[in-house]
Symmetry: C2
Subunit: 445 residues, 2 copies
Amino acid sequence: MLHARIVRLEVIDLRFPTSDTLDGSDAMHPDPDYSAAYVRVLTDHPTLEGRGFTFTIGRGTDLCVAAVRLLEPLVVGRTLASIKGDMRGFWRTLTSDSQLRWVGPEKGVVHLATAAVVNGVWDLLAKAAGEPLWKHLCALTSEELVAAIDFRYITDALTEDEALAILRAEEPHRAERMRHIASHGYPAYTTSCGWLGYSDEKIRRLCRESIAEGFNHFKVKVGADLADDIRRVGIIRAEIGPTRKLMIDANQRWDVGEAIQWTNALAQFDLWWIEEPTSPDDVLGHAAIARAVAPIGVATGEQCQNRVMFKQLLQANAIEFCQIDACRLGGVNEVLAVLLMARKFGVRVCPHAGGVGLCELVNHLVHFEYCAITGSDEGRVCEYVDHLHEHFEDPCVVRGGRYQSPNMPGYSSDIKEETLRAFAYPNGSEWLRRRAEAAPVGAQL
Amino acid sequence: MLHARIVRLEVIDLRFPTSDTLDGSDAMHPDPDYSAAYVRVLTDHPTLEGRGFTFTIGRGTDLCVAAVRLLEPLVVGRTLASIKGDMRGFWRTLTSDSQLRWVGPEKGVVHLATAAVVNGVWDLLAKAAGEPLWKHLCALTSEELVAAIDFRYITDALTEDEALAILRAEEPHRAERMRHIASHGYPAYTTSCGWLGYSDEKIRRLCRESIAEGFNHFKVKVGADLADDIRRVGIIRAEIGPTRKLMIDANQRWDVGEAIQWTNALAQFDLWWIEEPTSPDDVLGHAAIARAVAPIGVATGEQCQNRVMFKQLLQANAIEFCQIDACRLGGVNEVLAVLLMARKFGVRVCPHAGGVGLCELVNHLVHFEYCAITGSDEGRVCEYVDHLHEHFEDPCVVRGGRYQSPNMPGYSSDIKEETLRAFAYPNGSEWLRRRAEAAPVGAQL
């Protein structure tokens, strides 16, 4: 199957009308329509097709779709074998187009599009191998894994030799860990209880349900109003009791000084981390906050644009929890770089998930990380949000508060055909229906 | 005229085929087609129209054009009076769209588009006042200037009160400085001599011409090959003599360690600054380089995405020269924030220019900065590249190595109608002609 050649990328602007229900609302994103620039990587093989996407929240998805189309000529014509044989070069081809990089570089729309394409190619490779992505990654040698990483701009924090040494030292344990995680899963935490916009009653009910489901870590959105936050965080702490972990998430709402004051005002509720206290660009700001709110840890990463920013967050002791995003970093290749840097700096990776499809993707990443890099899930949790999984062919499964191991070949990124038809924007059947309903009577012709 | 209302944005994808001649080639961008997402801000006033743009280098311009169209609903319907009365709020409206910010935030394609729109609105305001932008800015009170700045994420480096104090202290000197700069101009440096891809002979000739024109500062592109750099930098130092300033520009080619070694290998030529030694995202890397190559100064900024990154470059003592870009920062409002932070931290602003139209824009910015913030051009220079000025209605003029003061109302961003018709991409007359010439005989039908 490695002789298969990529012949075309088909890109779909996929949007779910989640703003109707306030699912996913936070202090900076009050009305998200969970969306994806969804890429089908078509090959000349009769059945082999890769699927990748980047997660967005509505407007702007079209920009990512257009950016994927600009990347398409860099991918079409490549065989899987040629890509697999030069993963680092392939990745750099996408991130270093001499004209396109000007409107990044390696950030924003073009980097999100890179993620969609790169993830689609990894899905393709895993499917060609007949393995779920995490097992496909575990089947690669340490040398092959390192050969997928572009070390440009990070060698002052992690050299290729250091990365190789980390992987080689863990390689003998991989098989045993794969068996272990396949039977035990990986710890998850839930954000479903504490979105802004939910009523107190709904929060209480969701907390109780989550405890019954086996969750031990709970996250709540804060940052819009301190009095309201104290009330809501207090409700959740009361519901979950003194021993379960409680985290707060400000979604970049604050300046540095404000973040310190606000977090310390909520410290009475025994917080495990403060997430996204300020601008995702502010490495030094996060470091200042980390010093001022300890022992509460600082967490960030869902909008951390690339490995260069994560490198600095680690170098500056700015984060205790590294929240990689499978679709904001430039796909699997760049995720590998960050996982290895985090390991070197002794920082725990607790991936961002939720949105649409992020849980499906990061489940593979934490599985791989456990088996090949850390061998531990101690004090580590992967975010879980119970939204939109029904649209996936291989939805993630969380049982007893733990992610179960994916088993289908690929990166679990296949979205059902009927979903693609219904939620393609603006002319999918669901969007046409909604516009027809919204139109005044008589205007529907 | 402040009752005029914005009715529409017209956006043009404008591209010049500069890759033919290697003008503007550097280590990371070997074949740029200088381009712009060019915005006409149309009003209900019969003659009043604003013009703004963001500079790009070819592919990806279409993404910025599409992003401007997404911003259009945030602007249309606003009167000039309502914008002028709430400049900070207007700016934050553009940068904080709850869905669109996900694909930034405040970086890459969406922020470049923001710059185009914001610059177009300032052009409109200056034209409505009948003043060139720099004089229009100088006519604003310190309070009005501060009210244009979004201090979100920078208050730990510069508060509103501090900004106001800086401006107020300088306000009594503005009128005198305006007279002074109108007769003396502002010092420029030239990058035209030292692009990669130029022959030695061409470099020598251009150096001599530039000296004859009155330039005292020269910049050369480096980073592709050390032996070649030593030869080319040596040629320029020999041509310009021992007293003129010589700067090198690596356009992000190096990792941190490599930047230190390479720069020190060229230090023999008495360098004033090393520009863009590494990733524009690497604040801590620039700081490490700055410590290791002193007394050579570190300069960066043309791809510094926003005020939050500039804040950190200043906080970390990472730069001696702050190279704002009029089109990468989110327009005039965000430039004001960076000018004031640089002043507080005692760092010289030496704007990035060149491309298409950047010289026209930054000339206004250095004029304003001189009059209202620093009162000094000592050790400060503004980049000048002698390309594409012929397409502007009010081209910048550099005489005796100094930028002359712009006099026409607006931000000097009006591009000639015939240029817009010829270089609109892909169907402007010049692009049609080139494709017809490139097509094989018989295929032109």
